[in-house]
Amino acid sequence: MAGSIQNLPTEDVFTYLDSRADGLKRAEVEGRLQELGRNTLEAPNKLWWLKSLGRQFTNFFTILLNISAAICFVAHYLQPGESMDILGFALLGVSILNALFSFFQEYRAERAMEELKKFLPQRVMAVRAGEEAEVPAEELVPGDVIVLREGDRVPADVRLVECRDLMVNNAPLTGESIPISLTADAVDRELTESNNLAFAGCAILRGSGRGVVFATGFRSQFGRIAMLSRDIQRTVSPLERETAHMVRVLTVIAVAMGLTFFVYGVATGRSLWVNLVFMMGIIVANVPEGLLPTFTLSLAMGSLRMARRNVLVKSLNAVEALGAVHVICTDKTGTLTMNRLSVTRVEPETSSQWNLMEAALAACDLDVVEGGWSGDPLDEAVAVAYRDAGKDSQAVLDAQTTRFPFDVEKRRAAAVANIGGAPAFAVKGAWESLRPLLAADEAALSGADAKVEALAADGFRVIAVAARRLADGEAVDDQGAAEHDLELAGFLGLEDPIRPEVPGAVAQCHTAGIGTIMITGDHPVTAEAIARQAGMIDAAVAPGQATLTGQDLAKLSERQLVGKLRDGVRVFARATPEQKMKIVNALHQMDRVVAVTGDGVNDAPALKAADVGIAMGRDGTDVAREAAQVVLLDDNFASIVAGIEEGRTIFANIQKFTNYVLVSNGPEILPYLLYMLFPVPLALTVIQILSIDLGTDIIPSMALGQEKPDAQTMQEPPRDREQGLLTLPLIAHSYGFLGLIEAAFSLSLFFWVLFDGGWQWGQEMASNDTLYRSATGIALSSILLMQIGNLFGRRSRTGSGIDMDAFRNPLILIGITFEAIFSWALLYVPAVNTVLGTAPVDTTIYLIAWLGVPLIFGLDYLRKLVFRAIRS
């Protein structure tokens, strides 16, 4: 490792960083500030939000809506009184709402950076030109000498040159809240593992010292995490991609059709105004204006349902993305397990020499608090186990005379206490650290080694306990001096039990074709044992075959990692949160949609890189929560699976209502084609089309968006990524079958009313002619009624769609009622007549229009039966 900042002898640090013990001069600080910038995590582009906002207003769909709105305003200017301005404002409103909604989704993502900034202090004590003074932390530069004291947050990456009992918590970088002792001496380790460096964002727990800054802002280790959290582009969600595709296809169809018939109209000598109205009508008829707002509403309602299942969704696209997930990369502790250590094995169970549990408790470092004890979770587990065995834990703790708290480097704790009524020195900790202190022969030690291995293989965290009787009057002031001639009392097997619902949830994942991968910092044996209990590894797989350690992972190239994943590696043990990114990248190379869980600050980049980042709501950091799209309120793996089920259901529902909405496009487009090609009046005006697209279709669409998951939802593999929303069969079914039926029936009624009223073929009609208004009214009314039949049909791909659930979905009832009432009101309520340009028809004709409901439903059901018969 020679040559790096951590390898330098203290006296060389200043030479290499062009600094001095009495600090930099003001001019030097200014110069370096200019060269390297301020020590902040500010986004370089402060106007990023403007770019984001611009992007939302320049997507294909928004542009199309805005062009349509502009045409409306021009038309209103040329020929007022046709309500074209209202139409323009409606289209503009939809476009603005859509764009603003997407913008706020993106804006929220920046909050992760705000949370990260909170880890850096505002001011810091620095030595400059020989004087100690408080300076803004933002102004620190490499070479600056700073003073660190207990309670401080480290403002930048620092090489220590003076150290008095300094202890830090590097949790923001490593994810592990273990206190680390620091030194000013040179060390020969990797940068991030060096204990003569203090890193930005980390907290000083104890002691004081001085150090020289060597990296600031985004160049510090913490800054790199921040930079990755900021710069990694979230992958385009499957729904975004598919929606964009659908919008493009519909737009191209609409514009091409509009322009073709505009040119045709001009060529056949129709007036420019008529052609303009016609072109706009055809575009408006082709574009399902209400579809995207309905998407949004459906996703928002889906997110509410997910929240009831402890899955809080922050980004609406993640609602559906969860349903498309192929692989879940999950943490172990707290997600698969209860995050509650408990003693479940005592080895040996009885001993003549020592009471194992009493000796273990005697070496604990616990304080009494209301309702229990406070201290290390492991110590608490020992006290609880002792108490649960019907013994007095507090009495054992009260009998402690000297405590030697757990030492990270020694990996053990000790105490002097009364054990079995006589004074003794008890030690507990890792077996490797106690083994050399025991007074035992090699055979006994080998026997103990075998026991430890067996316990570890069963997934236990193994704690060794040893003790020694103290001679009368023997005082123990120094732990090291007392650690001799210890007798092994035995081993405690602790485990963090698996959550009871996890094996079922993992099995459900497998049935649904979803892979599960565990990424944990734990020991490989413990990790694999939990993975086997959860069912993530098949019983037939040999031990170790499906497990890789972080060390192995570090040596693998991305290509090799892809190979390992294909070979069935399912557990990554002793892995760092940073390595999650590598795994996510490899899975992306395999074209998988990946969900990743995380709770620490350094999980943020992986949460952002994943297709769905899932943060822990209970034990997660704010940074992780802000970086993620989904927050698990109960930190439970099973909730992710529940979320996936909801996500899949939402996609299926979106398909249902897309199908539903596109059906009404048929009867909207056909009148324009007839109008252009034959000497007939226009059967539907633009405002009437919009009353369907932005009015009556909305509630039934939302009702379909609320449909419950069916039994098949989690029985099928994740849907094919290439399977878009707008498939050819869906287009054929919507336009070519149901659309045609609706068009044919509504146009039949339109012409019936016209002929009945005395209209003759080729006769032109004024837009305020009552006969014309009645005819367009019945055309519109019949479309609305037929959409009721269409609604039931869309509920099921193969069945009739009429079952009890249909009447338990209140939105379906509201939607049907609304369509029925509106189909009547648009004919018989004068106010509605005025707005929509309609007039009443004979009641018999209106009642005949109701026949459209069983007609479309029946023909569609017949189609289903025929298809079912062909398939079977």
């Binding site: 040559g3 900042i5 370096r32």
Partner: protein, 284 residues
Amino acid sequence: MSVCLAYDGSTNADWVAHYAVRLAAGHPDRKIRILHVETAEFPTAQLSDKLANIGIIAEKAGVAAEVEICPMRDGVVGGLIDHVGEDPTALMVCGVRVRGGRRGFLEDTVTWQLLRDTSFDVVAFRVVQPGGLGVVRRLLMPVAGHKPGHRAAIKVLELMANYLKELRLLHVVELPAPKLRRLQAPNAEALRLQATAYLREIEDNLRADPVLQGVSLETAVRISDDWAREAIIDGAQQHADLICIEAARSSLEKGFRYGDPFETLLRDGASDVAIYRGGVHNGR
């Protein structure tokens, strides 16, 4: 072969000096020529402490430092080129402009002119991690679709081989943003395969080099609409000490403006950046 440091006396140049010393330590001659063209801004007399400091650092690295004061000849660049002459064995080490801003880090600088000149090999550093002390353990080398100036790259890599543990070749398949958004999985896979084959060729060449035998080689492919951004992200992810990239002749001719990917890399990278270009005798 001689490693020459174009030294102007700035703090930035002091940090670049670390790299120059490490590169010199990677050659059997273990010699560095510190070239200073005397200017009004940095007169030689004021630099004695700084030059002595570089001398100490060089000495600790076992490198003999030799300070040479060059006379101006049509400016600083002329002085340097004239002093070194057309030397195919020389490697000129220099630093980019200290502060980017609207002018950028390269445009119209001494370094830019040195990179455009073909008399010798040039490597320009932007040091943002002075604490790295010029030691490169993890190196990220973004490579474009063409064959890199192989000999020049090998020369730089061989000089870094003493410390170098991991070398990562990154090839970013760049697509326009709208095309990228619509990219289907099979097409992405085809692009990835093509890029992997291209990388394998470079990888095989590097593996054949005896000096690089101890270096772990890795390749990665990304499909993106912004290669510089991908290189920055990958560098941060891999904890790269240095991102080392070749300056194509075409880029040098057209110049570097604010939005240029090179400028983005120099401005936003969390790792140090080296831009190299082989001389007319060495791959160019």
